[in-house]
Symmetry: C2
Subunit: 315 residues, 2 copies
């Protein structure tokens, strides 16, 4: 009996593996550091060994497992099992499937990490029961995954659903991708930090509590916390950010008109404190009145979204 | 034998009807003025009579027809056959299907006019053979239709695929929809006219040939023609416009990553004169190098796209 699936969340700093049973419960999980500078083969070997040791520890035979799902950064090819491009790991066209099968003789499914996290949220989290669903991650960048007609969508060349790089402001802030004005420069956690520093540099907010924090360690959470205390700078940044997010969300309405939009990542930890003003602001930007647009919710799957999504990617 | 389908292109100024055979050839077409101020019932009666007279003229029996497809402006509900909202015709929640069936006892399919035009382009025009396809119309506004996995996509509440109202520039030009900075204000034919007038008003282009044209009748074609003659103002506007369109197209790459993007509407009549610099500019804005992004093409279906798309909407 194939009672289990294995999910792998491959990141730049760690490889996390989890075993999920037929009831979608996480049986056990473990992780090892990626040491990404080692290159492809030793990392895949560690991944294989971590899977095998986790199976052994839980007395699960490889024959009891249906497949391994890998959520990987970069551009992946679901059909061939190759990762075709990855900026963080500096891998190009590596055969992830066949390399892992040297250690784990199971079917291997591969998808992009943002897709995999969205899939977890769609199958088990706040996207459960929807048909069309968009998950965005408000972290260092803005990640996204899109489910259309109950299927993950990533376009004809697997380069779609990159909503963080939609245009947000023509001739706006320069993005790491080389283009100016991407959504990511306005809606990520990094955008909150960037805007805070920009406003601090004007010299108009010298009495802000945020001026006392070393700018190298200033976080989006610091800014959101300070805004709760009524700090003027923090509030100005927060209002700017909520406005941006409302514009981004309504663009998603106009593009995908999904059932639910899930907000995840660091900024989404603010929960209702973010959602309440966001819902208010969204009303200003609706294209059509009296249409029941998507519900905007906080993602529920947390840190294990990558493992769960990878483990469920074949379902 | 059901050898024919009937396509209706309902517009604010005319109702156009065409009969299409099994080989996707247009047998005949006709039109009557809409006289939109008359309201719903008399317009649907004229639509029914136009269909019947066109069938009679071509000696086609109603029994030989499979269905009628209607491409309608506004928000339509494919399932119920209602048009739920339309700003131009001032109709709200009208039962188009049952009303037309008073005159034409056939199945009636209804969809949005932009979707229907995209469907024609997908089935018979430059989107033929694709799986994922986006058509945008660069006219008075920016219309759009999206085909995903060989199916028209318009979202969970039929409010999606409105790419003309994606954000293009935060705090940008005020759009007719009430929001600032929509794509439509930068990429429509109207945007070309608007920008030309804005630059004329600066007083820096008084020697432009466009300064001699009555501003009430200035058209996007006038501007494009003048740019071909080397007129400085027209060239500045054209370069601005091509840059906008490149940013819009690359946003579509990042969102949908389709096989083909079709450009239709008045501006697209410029053909290669528009496409050549557009292709050059797009290269500056690509997110991932070495990915074969969508082909950007000029739409092929012309003025009959609405009729063809409606006639093929059930296929």
């Amino acid at each position: 009996m194939k009672n289990y699936t294995i999910g792998v969340d491959l990141g730049g700093t760690k490889i996390a593996v989890g075993i999920v049973n037929k009831e979608n419960k996480l049986i056990d999980k473990g992780s090892v550091p990626t040491f990404s500078e080692r290159g492809f083969a030793p990392i895949m070997k560690d991944m294989g060994e971590l899977i095998n040791s986790l199976l052994n520890k839980n007395n699960i035979l490889i024959e009891e497992c249906e497949y391994v799902g890998i959520g990987s950064p970069g551009l992946t090819n679901t059909e061939t099992g190759y990762m075709t491009d990855n900026a963080n790991l500096h891998w190009t066209n590596v055969p992830m499937r066949t390399e892992l099968q040297k250690y784990i003789p199971l079917p291997i499914h591969i998808d992009n990490d943002a897709n995999v996290a969205a899939w977890a949220e769609y199958k088990l989290g706040c996207g459960k029961g929807t048909k069309n669903f968009v998950a965005v991650t408000l972290g260092t960048g803005v990640g996204s995954g899109v489910v259309i007609n109950n299927t993950l969508y990533s376009g004809s060349h697997r380069a779609g659903a990159e909503l963080g790089h939609m245009l947000f402001e023509k001739d706006g802030y320069l993005c790491g991708c080389g283009k100016k004005g991407c959504v990511e420069k306005y809606c990520s956690a990094s955008a909150i930090i960037f805007k805070t520093k920009e406003l601090l540099a004007t010299g108009k907010y010298n009495d802000s509590v945020l001026a006392l924090i070393n700018s190298d360690i200033l976080s989006a959470r610091d800014v959101i916390d300070a805004s709760k205390q009524g700090d003027k700078l923090a509030l100005d940044v927060f209002i700017w950010y909520v406005d941006n997010l409302a514009l981004f969300v309504t663009s998603i309405f106009n593009i995908f008109d999904p059932d639910v939009i899930a907000l995840g990542g660091g900024v989404a930890n603010a929960g209702e404190y973010l959602l309440a003003p966001l819902h208010e602001k969204i009303k200003d930007y609706l294209l059509i009145e009296n249409v029941p647009y998507a519900k905007v919710k906080i993602a529920e799957m947390g840190n294990d979204a990558g493992i769960f999504g990878a483990a469920l990617i074949g379902k």
